[in-house]
């Protein structure tokens, strides 16, 4: 065994980390090598010195300061957590409020016809003050006389969006009832197209005013 290898093994042996088989090989080298024997003694002394000096001198004041700081950091962490939690709640509340305002705004923009302001938009044609004389041209339900007797105020209004999206069946289609009102003004007729099988309330108020020339 070479000295360099022996010294590495001695370093392991000094801490009890050498397997038995190698220990025997090392022992036989040490018997014949005086310098490695001296090295082994120095190594043992160094390890013993290291172990004897391994106790740090730490005062109780140091420990107490350390514990105090730990508690301070724990408490500040708790505070930070709770304040951040509070801030989080505020942010959530603000976000909720903003979302509510935005949705209200969008809702208002989507249905302008349904709003009272929008309903005032249609152009109003003032017919003569004569009472209307409705004539029902189909077998469908006729409007009530009271309704027919109301002052005629014909408006050309846009149907609601839902009605606009639906394709309107042409007149004469068997699926659609056509109700025609004649007004005192011979040039103005009111035509109602009602889809068969649908409730009146849900049918489109496809009121259309035509001016007959």
């Amino acid at each position: 065994m070479r000295c360099e290898k022996a010294r590495k093994l001695l370093a392991l042996e000094s801490g009890g980390d050498l397997p038995g088989a190698r220990d025997r090989a090392l022992a036989s080298h040490l018997e014949v090598c005086r310098r490695c024997r001296a090295f082994s003694e120095e190594l043992a002394l160094a390890v013993a010195w290291m172990r004897s000096a391994a106790e740090p001198v730490i005062s109780e004041a140091d420990y107490a300061a350390m514990r105090r700081e730990v508690w301070r950091r724990i408490e500040s962490g708790r505070g930070a957590r709770s304040s951040s939690f509070g801030a989080g709640r505020l942010v959530l509340a603000a976000a909720g409020l903003l979302a509510a305002v935005l949705s209200l705004f969008l809702l208002a923009r989507k249905s302008p016809q349904e709003s009272p302001v929008a309903s005032a938009r249609p152009a109003v044609v003032e017919p003569p003050p004569a009472p209307p004389n409705p004539t029902v041209s189909s077998a469908g339900p006729a409007p009530s006389p009271a309704h027919a007797a109301e002052p005629v105020r014909v408006a050309v209004s846009r149907p609601p969006r839902s009605a606009r999206r639906r394709p309107v069946a042409p007149a004469g289609d068997s699926a659609v009832e056509r109700i025609e009102f004649r007004t005192a003004n011979p040039n103005v007729r009111i035509i109602w197209l009602v889809r068969k099988g649908e409730e009146k309330s849900s049918s489109m108020p496809a009121g259309r005013t035509e001016e007959v020339s």
């Binding site: 391994a54 001198v57 730490i58």
Partner: protein, 209 residues
């Protein structure tokens, strides 16, 4: 403590301190841990008192500076406090504490590499030594820190855990996330360097490469 011998973790062999009883559910430490987990602040404080010497001592040996050791110890106990809920009953608390301490110190060493501090040595004693024995002890301790500071970080950690904390090579390897053979090589190399340091300190004899 089945995997880590109590004498090793408590330093009984080195310091003569009494080893704590086994880490079963009935040991005082286990009872403190249980109470601390339930939110008992006094129990947590007591837990710190019971283990602070070991934690701060190990941190000091690994880091070489009292200030750094104190900071690291604080971080160790903060991590213990935060993760105590994850600690499973019946597990070895000392081994768990050891792992945390080693990890915190390794983090600290990494940070130090990125931001090298002012020269760490000579190391100041924690209190002014009064008796002659204190003076000698402080001098020995400072020399030891100087010797440890001459080691590469990995060798230093392996040597401290093996020779100063008394863990086996396998336990050190597990703690450091390395192979036992690698750790043994690091320990051997570190011992040779310590021997050279001592020889150079005494003077007169040749220092080995």
């Amino acid at each position: 403590m089945s995997s880590l011998a109590p004498a090793l973790l408590t330093g009984e062999a080195r310091t003569g301190r009494e080893a704590p009883p086994g880490e079963g559910a009935t040991s005082p430490i286990a009872a403190l841990v249980e109470r601390a987990r339930e939110g008992d602040g006094r129990a947590f404080d007591r837990l710190m008192v019971e283990t602070q010497e070991r934690v701060m001592g190990l941190a000091w040996r690994l880091l070489g500076s009292r200030e750094e050791a104190r900071d690291a110890s604080q971080e160790v106990y903060l991590r213990v406090f935060r993760h105590l809920g994850r600690f499973r009953a019946g597990e070895d608390f000392h081994a768990w504490l050891y792992r945390i301490t080693v990890n915190v110190c390794r983090d600290s060493i990494r940070r130090r590499r990125r931001n090298p501090p002012a020269p760490a040595f000579p190391v100041e004693p924690s209190r002014p030594p009064e008796a002659e024995e204190d003076l000698l002890g402080a001098e020995r301790w400072n020399l030891l820190l100087e010797a440890l500071a001459s080691l590469p970080p990995k060798e230093r950690a392996a040597l401290v855990l093996r020779d100063l904390e008394g863990l086996t090579s396998e336990q050190v390897a597990r703690l450091l996330g390395s192979r036992a053979a690698t750790v043994r090589g690091q320990i051997a190399s570190a011992r040779l360097r310590i021997r050279n340091f001592c020889v150079a300190l005494i003077g007169g004899r040749e220092a080995l490469p």
